[in-house]
Symmetry: C2
Subunit: 187 residues, 2 copies
DNA sequence: GTGATTATTTATCATATGTTAAGTACTTCC
DNA sequence: GGAAGTACTTAACATATGATAAATAATCAC
């Protein structure tokens, strides 16, 4: 769980008591590739930290599997549209390669906010940062061609292409797998 | 400023002292149509609340004016990608019709967070909600045709079309104005 | 109110991406 | 290690949206 606290420390410095409180409601699990951590239709009550491995959030649009986002080593992943609303999520979290994951119980975590303002601040800062990433992503989706999007993925996150099946990358980029192959072929 | 506190009250109940503290660093201004509240290149240090009127966030992509988002009566608008990072924003906020705006000094507001955890919580909840909206918007952009996006805009926010020039709506939907006209014409 | 500017529509042609289908390459599992 | 399934590519055709240009409509300034 060391790397979790190293990650959290980048957002806010925590007291020993706060770290202990978070550790108490977290547990490390190893997960086999292709496993769903949480199924579609379930209300999200867990924030996951990818210690080592890869995960993605996905859902079905007209029967087609769509990847919303990826998380690699040392990053957090959660279905915020359910986590923050309490509504069931239409999305699932899937593990893409054999991974080591820290599962943080969000119901209990949110209860800690009253006792530990430093923890509330920590997660405020984490999700503010994620919010900024999401706002920036809209720009990338809306006003770049698929090829430009693919090129900047190669540049910003070359790991994705090595560790994630292309079919998942395609829907993440907002195109079909066939289009992605065409773009790759034209190089 | 009454409607601002009515809006804030939907997210978190505030003590009188907290309300007073927020009121002290806010000021109501009337702004003429087509005015930029804050120019491009400026680091965002203000959160705006639209008391009455319409505002939008926009930027230039290859010389073309792109609308990122709108805010109507009784809503908040801020360039979060600058507000939360401290970096200069490539975006501007423009007033679209003569409006009454409450400007909240964010530098001072963030300082209140230490003294008033209830204010930190309030804005955490506000931006968590905005984050969820943004995540949901990606889905709309990425996997619906321009026509579907236009139809759901009519349905969810008919005001937009009445109060906002179509050229701004087009880039918000991620298409050119000519395409938007074609879609409207085909009905 | 008239002219000038700005907003919107319509038409034509170009192009990126989608759809379907088939073929090849790679994995997995008994 | 061979069969079966899964992942990826390639090709041909269809279609939505972009680009450019020109026409009309609405708004603004004096």
């Amino acid at each position: 769980m060391t790397s979790l606290f190293k990650y959290l420390g980048k957002f806010n410095t925590l007291s020993k008591e706060a770290e202990k409180a978070i550790a108490e409601l977290s547990k490390t699990i190893t997960v086999k590739k292709n496993t769903d951590l949480q199924p579609i239709g379930h209300t999200c009550k867990t924030i996951y930290f990818v210690n080592k491995g890869v995960a993605r959030i996905y859902y079905f649009k007209d029967g087609v599997d769509i990847t919303e986002s990826f998380a690699f080593d040392n990053n957090i992943i959660a279905r915020v549209e359910s986590l923050f609303t309490g509504k069931p999520s239409r999305k699932a979290i899937q593990i893409i390669e054999d991974s080591e994951i820290v599962a943080i119980n969000s119901t209990q975590l949110f209860k800690l906010y009253d006792k530990f303002p430093e923890i509330e601040r920590l997660f405020r800062l984490i999700f503010e940062s994620a919010y900024v990433d999401t706002v920036n992503r809209i720009e990338g989706i809306q006003f770049h061609t698929a090829e430009e999007r693919y090129n900047s993925l190669i540049k910003d996150a070359p790991d994705v292409l090595k560790r994630v099946p292309l079919k998942y990358v395609a829907s993440y980029l907002g195109i079909t797998q066939v289009s992605l192959s065409r773009i790759r072929g034209s190089k």
